[in-house]
């Protein structure tokens, strides 16, 4: 009887079997990668803004504190965006004729707030509060990266639920003394190890076990 299958069919069948298993897995993997890709999470994406405002220039170059512009960050849920008045505190004189700042002057003249496009935006079903994080010693850098090195603002962290939980499960190693929350280049003292975080955790009465309850963030 002649052979029905050519010997090469062996290889073929192996390839088929292999791809039957690996194909769907690869597809799932691809979807997973897509969901986490910068395209989806918008990490490091720069947006069109009305004014080319540079944190690098103002924070690193001039040493202005975050709170000069983001005034409500210590107490409120929203960090607060600077009013046109805040920019004009300095730019009434500095670069007062610069075309780069024309939108700021127009905003003051027409009494129309500047419209910045949001870089960070959680879904509306998530509750977030800056005040609590700042008061308990989570530095801006933990969530926003080195703002002082950004000529234009971008998103440093994916803002996924997994990312929030990662810290809420074990915030200890990521806490710092309250005075250093706004410092961009703070490093834990070399010899402190985990002791510092544990101490801070105790001092501010945190109940870590509860931080992963759904109702903390979905309320």
């Amino acid at each position: 009887m002649p052979q029905v299958f050519h010997p090469s069919a062996n290889t073929l069948s192996r390839v088929v079997l292999f791809s039957l298993v690996v194909g769907p897995a690869a597809l799932l993997g691809l979807v997973y990668l897509l969901v986490r890709s910068p395209y989806q999470t918008q990490v490091r994406v720069i947006r069109e803004q009305p004014v080319q405002f540079s944190h690098e220039h103002h924070v690193n170059g001039l040493g202005i504190d975050c709170r000069f512009c983001h005034t409500s960050v210590e107490t409120a849920s929203a960090a607060g965006m600077p009013a046109t008045h805040t920019c004009m505190t300095c730019h009434s004189q500095i670069w007062a004729d610069s075309p780069l700042l024309e939108p700021v002057r127009a905003s003051l003249k027409n009494q129309e707030p500047l419209a910045w496009s949001r870089v960070h935006d959680l879904p509306d079903f998530v509750y977030f509060h800056h005040g609590i994080h700042v008061q308990k010693g989570v530095g801006c850098v933990e969530c926003h990266g080195r703002m002082d090195k950004m000529p234009l603002a971008w998103r440093e962290k994916p803002l996924t639920m997994e990312w929030c939980l990662d810290c809420h499960r074990n915030p200890e190693p990521r806490l710092r003394p309250k005075d250093d929350v706004f410092a961009m280049d703070w490093e834990p003292p070399a010899d402190s190890g985990l002791a510092l975080g544990g101490e801070l955790l105790q001092k501010s009465h945190m109940e870590v076990g509860q931080l992963t309850n759904c109702s903390i963030c979905h309320r």
Binding site: F68, T89, Q93, I94, P123
Partner: protein, 224 residues
Amino acid sequence: MYPTSSFLESDTLTMRSNTLSARAWFASDRWSRWLAAGVVLAALSGCQDMYDQHRYEPFESSTFFDDGASSRPLVAGTVPRTDPRNLPDVDDRNLLLTGLKDGQPSRSAPFPVDQTVLERGQGRYRIYCAPCHGELGDGKGIIVQRGFTTPPSYHEDRLREAPLGHFFQVITDGHGVMYSFASRVAPQDRWAIASYIRALQLSQNAKVSDLPPEDQDKIQEASK
């Protein structure tokens, strides 16, 4: 009457004449329904309604108002029922908010000034004032070095003799080319800053005899 959206529908359909075309149609209909279900599911998973709900988040823009903002400026004279600024409970509320006592800038703060108040004042001063007035209050901050009008040093006689209320008023209303900080610094913090400036003035003009005896001794040692 045929229900259109339920899979039970197939029972009704099979009651129609059993011709080939009907059967073929039926078969393809089952596919299209799976397809429709798939499309609906896909659409739901991409549904953004819960992501962007019909309410305003802080600072969200709005097409309703002419200036494009959803948060509205306060009507002049608005009195909050509960003050969001956490004002301290003081006897003289008018003094706390205006800096005036009997119509004149007050010589003292509306609440006792202690170490905590001074530390608060130092922190706020470094955020809001130091960029222009400098850490020491000499008026040589970085923004001045970049071309802003040079403010007077806090250590000149006129300002050393100015009442505390004057500093409160400058922060509240601005002064000449200096803008008001009323929207950025709460009243109790303005008093804390004013008190800190006073402390700065004293420190920059301190005499050896103002120091505690043990420090006086140290200076004596050092200057030998």
